[in-house]
Symmetry: C2
Subunit: 212 residues, 2 copies
């Protein structure tokens, strides 16, 4: 397969490209390339990317993350700015990409634990990921030509625990190998409309999410 990976130089992107590269042609994209340059906050940049790389079998996005926020002073404009990359950017990869991907191609987006689990200072991350989950369910029934779409919703990655664990004490990490395997499953498998939640159920009566 020809696989476009956006955010290829990031914490998840690097090992993901390495694993996919064993069996597939990987186009490593991001703000600084290396194979193709894109800023997913811009619809024009996304369209130019798809036109430049030509037909692909899969588009995986592991770029961008939500910024921290302060709820007491949070404004609509700050929230919207936070949503530009990870929310609207990933949605644009699908809305624009739906006419560029090969038949039966797949999109794999990245959301996160804050969709389902509340932590202080991440209201933006929550609405980004919660909105993306519902988008994936919706897009899965809307996409034509056998196109598929799934999301990977990680908790903190074991490789990042040292850098971020002080912000989210007690958050159980996911091993990088398992995370990478989940992206591979989305691309090489056949499912669509699946949210891969890589964390334990919250346990409240409202959220009975199974693990994985």
């Amino acid at each position: 397969m020809r696989i476009l990976v956006i955010g290829a130089s990031g914490t998840i992107g690097r090992p993901l490209c390495e694993e996919l590269g064993k069996r597939h042609e990987v186009i490593a994209a991001g703000r600084r390339g290396p194979d193709a340059v894109v800023d997913i906050r811009s619809a024009e940049s996304i369209r130019a990317l798809y036109e430049a790389v030509g037909p692909v079998d899969a588009c995986i996005c592991v770029a961008e993350s939500g910024a921290l926020d302060r709820f007491e002073t949070l404004t609509e404009d700050e929230l919207l700015e936070n949503m530009r990359g990870k929310f609207f950017g990933q949605i644009n990869l699908v809305l624009i990409g739906q006419s560029f991907l090969k038949d039966r191609g797949s999109f794999t987006l990245t959301s996160g634990i804050f969709a389902d689990e509340a932590w202080p200072g991440v209201t933006g991350g929550a609405v980004i990921s919660g909105g993306l989950h519902s988008f994936v369910l919706s897009a899965a029934i809307e996409l034509k030509r056998g196109l598929r779409i799934n999301a990977v919703s990680p908790t903190i990655v074991a490789d990042s625990v040292e850098a971020y664990a002080h912000l989210f004490p007690g958050m159980e990490p996911v091993e990088m190998d398992r995370l990478i395997g989940t992206y591979v499953n989305c691309v090489e498998g056949s499912e669509t409309g699946r949210i891969h939640r890589l964390y334990r159920p919250a346990g409240s009566a409202d959220t009975g999410f199974p693990l994985g």
Copy 2:
């Protein structure tokens, strides 16, 4: 209690105000009043509303609904426009209102079934409601002074079946009485961070939502 109801003249708003009015002082607000005028698409209008009505014990929003969309031609700008009222408007009611509500006051927002269940032509409705659910979880742990927040996520209302059932054939309606009772529960009860899903579980492995 003094209860501010936004969208007071709508399908849900009218019977809700009637029920609440039996025990409480209701301030019926909306684009055409009657007690107070507000356009929740505007942050300035929301701030002016809170300043005009003075301290309230509860703010309930049953205003606005998502527009239909066509996935194949949907753009970021259309999606954002669709999100202005029901998503950013309701979030602004909380972000701005958090300094206006009385201690231990409550916000009750309205989301909808498309957060969890995919139907054609409602990608906007999906991301609006999915994002709102995660916002409510997050806001519940962020709000100070004992302020509470919950969401009511209705399916199609029995009273609207005649008008909308052709768009969503087979969608099981919720009775208006049960819906109104759920809003009353949010205001008069003590829970926070609860998403009241008024529809059956989707049954997929990914969404084990209990009824109610």
